[in-house]
Amino acid sequence: MKINLKVWRQKNAESKGRFENYVVDDIHEDTSFLEMFDILNERLVAEGKEAIVFDHDCREGICGMCSMTINGIPHGPERKTTVCQLHMRKFKDGDTIVVEPWRAGPFPVKQDLVVSRDAFEQIQQAGGFISIRTGAPQDANAIPISKEISDKSMDAAQCIGCGACVAACPNAAAMLFTSAKVSHLNYLPQGAPEKDRRVIAMVEKMNELGFGNCTNYGECQGVCPKGITLDMIAKMNRDYAVAKAKQAVGAL
């Protein structure tokens, strides 16, 4: 295959970026999208030019490191698929593909296609945990949890923290991410004692970091590589409302 690429190049956080055009040919359809970038980088190195910097690590769709907006869609055209798992058979010979970093205020570009997602870390630090220490908790089977509840928690826990939801949202909202993290723990009996405290802390941290509000575009759900759905946001809003009500009456 022959592919025309328009790739965002930016020297560092301070400098102004621009698109550069590249042509890659001889690409096999079984090649992954990132392997195409490896091949392109090999050519750039051979020409003595600087390689394109992009985030990636596990290359099996689970670490959440890879982050490219392809033709305007975070992670590209295939549903429920991270960039690293996207293969060239999904494109046509001769296609022109535009590749950019995540675009969102709270995710500043560091270099080329790499952004900072430190804001996600801060949301997690605010409440994404159950406050227990390593020790000798009760037997794992002491609290039965219905399969339905456990499955719901697991649906939320599948979030890989890639940030595509933020990049896709016209408001740069982090509601899908935050709600997945809140719901994972809030669904479970183990997470119940801190349920209210957790949702308030994480939502408020999210707001403080400059993420936008949810106005029900649903773009986040469309691009999520792990299939996290908007119900998580509904659950988070419900939990938040209850927690704030408790707070208002002095019950929290």
Binding site: D30, D38, G48, G64, E121, I130, M154, A157, L185
Partner: protein, 648 residues
């Protein structure tokens, strides 16, 4: 210089050793803990659990990872599950059986006391994880579900869909972020450890390169915990993440840490086959698939190019079921991998022709779908089938999957004693980076168990025993040792960037990988290993003459990162091959073609030599280009008498 390879195994019966140790170990009182600083390198299961737990106890922890978040460490990619001796299934499991299976699975080359401790704390791990909110799979009654895994005849594996690694890591990460929020852990992301720093012979700090700004900076502490994973990427193509490297461990080796059993590298039997020359990594399909999938190749070569669904039942060779009737498709990893290689060497491989041959075997779910229904299979493995389709474009509900072995996990690693301390005082090594628990072969679902055991339940007891003896007081980073280490890092980087060669670091890594896979992969022999030991110094010389590293030192430069990691792999590969050459026996994942049974029931199986090789080989660095010295730690078999490992 000779190593002190005292394993410090505590006195007493095997079931009492850990309790004895814990009682006799020195403690640091809670008020004094805040005077100590600990560096944790790596944030996978071992690193994150250790950092969080030590911080909870009151120590000041600095944790480093090369990714942009500690949640991304490669433990996250583990799919299948985590073992524990809970015996929830009432099927005959016990701590002793998990211990026995692990020692036997490791082909009697692991230290019994360590393995017993691992089996003992396995149950605490499950309790801990559930309390943290890890959503393990459950049954309708609300209790935890289990499944069976390769190398075991009981159902002791806990799992969370096909992403147990991610869920366990998120659990450890949640404990870690809590401590970061509380200010007890200082997290440094996008940092690569470049040097270990010794002060008066003790590990007291590290030098890191900031991968964004290129800044070279020293950090000091009272002890250093290395939790940097394995070296599977020495084969270039592996299931490891792109950033996984031997560099941190290798630097410790250069500074005097013994490297044990580097030739024990595990080849995972169920990976998606190589599609072509442009490939950058291989993807593993969880071994749990072998619970329901049946592995076969055509009986005759003529059928290899056919659509598998058109090959009649009687023309298929279910070779694992045929050779190992009692374990069948659940035979341990090394045995399954070798059997796949034999079938393909015999010309009966399937799938695409790459480099003139077909390297793949079928993993067929038709029987299971017929028996349990598609829905049940989808429930168990749905995400794995989806992943397979994304990568290959094929639907495995309708057509058997194609799989082939790939480099996956490394049992070898830095030598540690019972306390997880290396031959350098103050340097502790946890998780895959150490060598202790899996012997010559690791059983499925045991890596997650070991990482968390080391981090949550072992190091919190053994580290204080060291700290209490040395007293608190981290050295200043203005000291000579730190300045020297920083200079050495800067010189190395400068050397790379001023090279006027013409080929990329990736080119050399790929070439090295080919040599390693060819001569030191699934099957090894003296001639091949000697050949590899000739070729590696040559390619290393070519590398230093011909490598070209573009870009600058003061920004993100992935070419430079790869050059640094590749340079270390080039040196390390030689130690690995030497170890494989010197271990003149077959055991576990180390299969020397000269040492196999030639007749009887065991024909073609690995032949161990307990009289001469019942030891861990520990390599000591003696300078660049010099042959390292081989030391031995005897492996004693007090509990489990070695037998021929039979899974028939």
């Amino acid at each position: 210089m000779s190593f002190n390879l005292d394993s410090k195994i505590p006195e007493g019966k095997i079931s009492e050793k850990w309790d004895n140790y814990k009682f006799h170990a020195k403690l640091v009182n809670p008020a004094n803990r805040r005077k100590y600083h600990v560096i944790v390198v790596g944030s996978g299961l071992a690193g994150a659990s250790a950092a969080a737990t030590l911080a909870e106890q009151g120590y000041n922890v600095s944790c480093f990872c090369y990714q942009d978040s500690p949640r991304r460490a490669h433990s996250i990619a583990a799919q299948g599950g985590i073992n524990a001796a809970k015996n929830y299934q009432n099927d005959g499991d016990s701590i002793y059986r998990l211990f026995y299976d692990t020692v036997k699975g490791g082909d009697f080359r692991s230290r019994e006391a360590n393995v017993y401790r691992l089996a003992q704390v396995s149950n605490n791990i499950i309790d801990q994880c559930v309390a943290q909110g890890v959503p393990f799979a459950r049954e309708y009654g609300g209790l935890l579900a289990n499944r069976s895994f390769g190398g075991a005849q009981v159902s002791r594996t806990f799992y969370a869909r096909g992403q147990t690694g991610q869920q366990l890591l998120l659990g450890a990460y949640s404990a870690l972020v809590r401590q970061i929020g509380l200010g007890k852990v200082k997290m440094y992301t996008r940092q690569e450890m470049m040097e270990l720093v010794l002060v008066d012979g003790h590990a007291k700090g590290i030098v890191c390169r900031n991968l964004v700004t290129g800044e070279i900076k020293s950090f000091s502490a009272d002890a250093v915990l290395l939790c940097t994973g394995g070296y599977g990427n020495v084969f270039y193509l592996s299931t490891n993440a792109q950033g996984c490297s031997v560099s941190a461990a290798f630097n410790c080796y250069r500074k005097g840490a013994g490297f044990a059993n580097p030739c024990f590298t595990q080849i995972h039997p169920t990976c998606i086959p190589v599609h072509g020359e442009q490939q950058s990594k291989l993807t593993l399909m969880s071994e749990s698939l072998r619970n329901d999938g049946r592995i076969w190749v055509p009986k005759s070569k003529e059928n290899c190019g056919k659509n598998p669904n058109d090959i009649k039942e009687e023309d298929r060779d279910y070779y694992l079921e045929r050779k190992y009737p009692s374990f069948g498709n659940l035979a341990p990893r090394d045995i399954s991998s070798r059997a796949a290689k034999e079938a393909c060497d015999d010309g009966r491989g399937v799938g695409n022709v790459v480099g003139g041959e077909r390297r793949g075997v079928y993993l067929d779910f038709a029987t299971a779908i017929k028996r349990d229904g598609k829905k049940a299979i989808e429930e168990r493995y749905g995400n794995l089938f989806e992943m397979y389709e994304r990568i290959t474009g094929e639907n495995a509900y309708e057509r058997p999957m194609r799989i082939y072995p790939a480099s996956h996990y490394t049992m070898g690693g830095l030598w540690v004693d019972y306390e997880l301390q290396s031959t350098i005082p103050g340097l502790f090594v946890l998780g895959e980076a150490n060598f202790s628990d899996h012997g010559a072969n690791r059983l499925g679902a045991s890596a997650l168990m070991q990482g968390l055991s080391d981090g949550y339940f072992v190091i919190p007891y053994t580290l204080p025993n060291y700290l209490a003896r040395t007293g608190a007081g981290k050295p200043s980073i203005d000291g000579e040792a730190f300045k020297e280490a920083e200079k050495s890092v800067k010189d190395r980087i400068e050397k790379f960037l001023t090279k006027g060669g013409s080929k990329s670091p990736r080119h050399y890594h790929q070439e090295l990988g080919k040599i390693m896979w060819e001569y030191c992969g699934m099957g090894r022999n003296e001639e091949g290993l000697k050949k590899a030991l000739e070729l590696i110094p040559q390619i290393r010389e070519d590398f230093w003459k011909g490598v070209k590293v573009v870009g600058d030192a003061d920004c993100m430069n992935t070419e430079l990162e790869r050059a640094i990691r590749t340079a270390d792999f080039m040196e390390f590969a030689e130690v690995l091959c030497l170890d494989a050459l010197e271990r003149r026996e077959s055991c576990g994942a180390h299969f020397r073609e000269e040492y196999q049974y030639t007749e009887g029931d065991q024909k073609g199986e690995a032949k161990r030599d307990d009289a001469n090789f019942s030891h861990a080989a520990v390599w000591e660095y003696t300078g660049f280009g010099n042959k390292p010295v081989r030391h031995q730690e005897e492996i004693l078999h007090e509990e489990v008498k070695p037998v021929v490992r039979s899974y028939k």
